[in-house]
């Protein structure tokens, strides 16, 4: 973080959202400035006009009650900056361990790792809240510091988020919500503050779980920001710029890999019948979770595998996912061709559906739940699951032997 100590305490005019500063040396258009009052509170502003030796600053931060005479304006802000050299510290980058979310379908099929970034493709913000609430619960049981950034939140959704937050008895310092009626720069503020808070906690040595709701609004803000700065871009050009911005934000977390686990939501997957263009951003993430229309987990997500022997459960999850995916596809095709399903196939279909829609956090750990699924898999399929996997979960299950 860098704060250039070039400043001025000569504020000539102050209005609700902007001020005129005299003799702020070196200020140029679109520069960020920090405004500090006598109590030490600081706000971020942006230079929107320069005339000779005075400049017009618009205040981007939220509500403020400032007095003209006590203000100091510094050029630059405490915005985060990427390191000049690529971060090479191996020990920090390579901590790899599985983050047990205690959501049975996620743990069994899409095991998350500490320090990974996860892309959640939901259908709507409201429907995805169940998953995020469950993830929050998992992060808390895993002793991580939760941090939630919600952009462009409507009143009801904000209430809902606060209800979840209060339910776990969490403090407000990890909650960053911008209202849908806020101005652009006010709306972007939670993003900056949230990122700062997460990185600050991570440098203190705490594990952080960062949630961002959602990419759709962030992308809209980005386009507005570009338009206000005078770059008129086509939709595709703006999309590319947003990809760069998002990627840069994620690189800031990368320096603390292993400490900050990030989950970001894309709330609308379909726009007028077509898949959202932002869906392509999933390439920037380590893992992808896709929610179906009813808010349940779909089998189409993925997490990359670890190199062999790092953690068996990740490898098993991949195999299990593949089996379930093939089988459910086959069942679907047969249902469409109106073939009768056998007794055991019908039972498996029901069990899988139940398993995938059970997103609420439960106390029982995953091996038993996987065993339930495996035990219901038709005979012809179970032969394709490697014996080592069956043995692993078979032995976890106490007395129950292999079929």
């Amino acid at each position: 973080m860098k704060l250039l100590r070039l400043g001025s305490n000569n504020v000539s005019f102050l209005s609700a959202s902007s001020l005129w500063v005299e003799r702020l040396a070196g200020a140029s258009l679109n520069d960020l400035v920090t405004i500090q009052d006598d109590s030490g509170d600081s706000f971020v502003g942006r230079v929107v006009e320069v005339q000779n030796d005075r400049c017009h600053v618009r205040i981007c931060d939220g509500e403020h009650s400032l007095c003209r005479d006590s203000l100091q304006v510094w050029l630059g802000s405490n915005e985060l900056e990427l390191p000049d050299e690529p971060p090479l510290a191996a020990s920090r980058l390579t901590r790899r361990s599985v983050f047990k979310t205690r959501i049975a379908p996620v743990d069994a099929l899409f095991p998350l790792q500490h320090g990974h970034s996860i892309f959640v493709a939901g259908v709507s913000l409201y429907r995805s809240l169940a998953l995020f609430s469950a993830l929050l619960h998992g992060a808390l049981s895993d002793h991580q510091w939760p941090c939630l950034i919600s952009l462009d939140t409507s009143k009801n959704e904000a209430e809902e988020i606060r209800r979840i937050w209060d339910h776990y008895g969490l403090e407000d310092e990890g909650l960053f919500i911008s209202d849908s009626r806020d101005q652009l720069y006010q709306s972007m503020t939670p993003l900056r503050l949230g990122w700062e808070a997460a990185i600050c906690r991570a440098s203190e040595g705490r594990d952080v779980f960062l949630m961002v709701l959602d990419l759709e609004s962030w992308a809209r803000f980005y386009q507005e920001d570009m338009a206000l700065r005078g770059y008129y871009r086509s939709r595709a050009g703006a999309l590319n710029g947003f990809r760069n911005a998002l990627s840069t934000h994620m690189q800031m977390l990368y320096g603390h890999k292993g400490r900050i686990t990030a989950a970001m939501l894309l709330s609308e997957r379909k726009v007028a019948g077509l898949p959202s263009e932002l869906l392509a951003l999933r390439d920037l993430f380590d893992g992808v979770l896709i929610l179906r229309g009813d808010g349940a987990l779909s089998l189409h997500g993925y997490t990359p595998q670890l190199p062999r022997g790092m953690d068996r459960s990740v490898e098993y999850a991949c195999l299990l996912r593949r089996q379930c995916k093939e089988l459910s596809r086959e069942l679907k095709r047969r249902r469409m061709d109106e073939y009768p399903l056998s007794q055991e196939e019908r039972a498996f279909d029901r069990a899988l559906h139940k398993f995938l829609s059970g997103l609420e956090p439960r106390a029982d750990a995953s091996p038993q739940r996987i065993w339930q699924i495996l035990a219901l898999m038709p005979e012809s399929r179970i032969s394709r699951v490697p014996l080592s996997l069956l043995r692993e979960y078979g032995s976890n299950d106490g007395g129950e032997a292999l079929r």
Partner: protein, 415 residues
């Protein structure tokens, strides 16, 4: 001098001379405008891109201005011990495409395009390709952040060729103008006189690059054509795809492998103004479809099919046309063949040894003969070999391929 670089005193801001009229010089900024302030002194360095690049040494990550970022060998492999797996550097596939490359006949000095949306993105897929390739010299154009860059660095170290590789890196926080320098930089690097014999250029996402060129054009005020792209995009794309060159008298060639991200549902091949041009420039294009987490070349791919590719196409057609009685078993056979010879898993970074066992034309004919005259006994044995291969030798693809071919020959010999 045109094309000369200009920089501030502390070397923190770069620009390039675009034009001059004797008194005033027009400079293209290659860094964020916030970094330069009025009143700062700009130096003309007197160096062009080529002169700067001439000084770079192999085995490093450089940016398009020729500045060295890090050495590839300096990137630690973390706590992953790959040294347990001996990496052979001779023989094997040159392209590193593994089963995807066996689907088509690929030759030195041609261009191959991979199209689709592989899970984990093209950066993951291409880093695996970088780990498996056996080129004499490798150029990688990386457009990702630290994460992707380190993936490539590790992959190149796994391949044992850290000293025979140059990574050109334009991270997402660079201004789009930086990306316009890439075609010239790559063209210069690949055409140097001391170039290696077989060179390979990997460009992980051409679509991303093209969108950045569009963004650059828009922000510099270029009017866009009706297709939505500015004039520069077409010329730049041509320059980039022209990197490939067929083997010359001394057998030196440059092969080009590009990725193009597209979603099946909403950007079909014909609709994109530049994607439709790809088959003109690239001899082979493999369109990837996702089939339960594995990638399979789809029917729209273009290029010259290999024996395995031809066999796979016909087998799929046979499966669609066959009787209901044998459909299940034939599907099992197709699936097994696909799994062994066609499918590619992009999510596993497991170190599988290179596929030495190849599918031959004769085997293909034998398999199709069997599949076109299915009978009860044969079908039972298909299910048996499938169950066997699924349970055993999961870790050794070559053993499974060999035993499948052995099984096929045994079926042939039976009356």
């Amino acid at each position: 001098m045109l094309g000369e670089f200009a920089c501030t005193e502390d070397n923190s801001w770069y620009g390039q001379v675009q034009s001059h009229n004797g008194r005033a010089v027009r400079i293209l900024p290659l860094d964020l405008p916030e970094k330069i302030r009025p009143g700062e002194v700009l130096h003309l360095s007197g160096e062009t891109l080529e002169e700067r690049l001439a000084r770079t040494e192999p085995g490093a990550v450089i940016d398009p201005l020729g500045r060295r970022i890090i050495k590839i060998g300096d990137v630690s492999m973390g706590n992953l011990s790959f040294s347990a797996v001996p990496q052979r550097t001779a023989g094997g596939s040159f392209w590193g495409l593994k089963t995807l490359g066996e689907f088509m006949n690929l030759h030195d000095g041609e261009g191959v395009a991979l199209l689709g949306a592989p899970p984990g993105g093209f950066a993951l897929l291409f880093s695996q390709i970088a780990a498996a390739q056996r080129a004499d010299f490798l150029y990688i154009f990386c457009q990702g952040g630290y994460h992707e860059l380190y993936r490539y660095c590790c992959a190149v170290q796994i391949a044992g060729s850290a000293e025979k590789c140059t990574i050109l890196w334009t991270p997402p926080w660079n201004v789009p103008a930086m990306k316009t320098l890439v075609p010239r930089a790559l063209a210069y690097l690949t055409e140097r006189s001391h170039a290696a014999r077989r060179q390979l250029v990997l460009i992980d996402d051409l679509h991303y690059w093209l969108e950045s060129i569009r963004e650059y054009g828009e922000s510099s005020g270029e009017p866009s054509l009706p297709d939505g792209y500015p004039y520069t995009a077409r010329r730049q794309l041509g320059e980039l795809l022209d990197l490939k060159s067929l083997p010359d008298g001394e057998d030196r060639s440059t092969s080009l492998l590009i990725g193009w991200r597209y979603e099946e549902e909403f950007s079909p091949l014909a609709e994109h103004p530049y994607m439709g041009r790809l088959p003109r420039f690239m001899r082979t294009g493999i369109i990837l479809e996702e089939l339960s987490e594995n990638l399979v070349p789809s029917a729209d791919s273009w290029g010259e099919l290999s024996p395995a590719g031809r066999c796979w196409r016909r087998l799929c057609r046979l499966t669609e046309e066959c009787d209901e009685d044998f459909r299940h078993e034939l599907e099992a056979l197709t699936e097994l063949f696909g799994e062994l010879f066609v499918e590619y898993s992009p999510l596993s970074f497991a170190m599988e040894s290179e596929n030495q066992v190849q599918w031959s034309e004769a085997d293909g004919k034998a398999l199709l003969r069997l599949a076109s005259r299915p009978n009860q006994k044969l079908m039972a044995s298909v299910l048996k070999i499938r169950a066997e291969l699924h349970l055993n030798f999961r870790e050794c693809p070559d053993v499974r391929r060999r035993s499948f071919i052995d099984w096929l020959r045994a079926q042939e010999e039976q009356p």
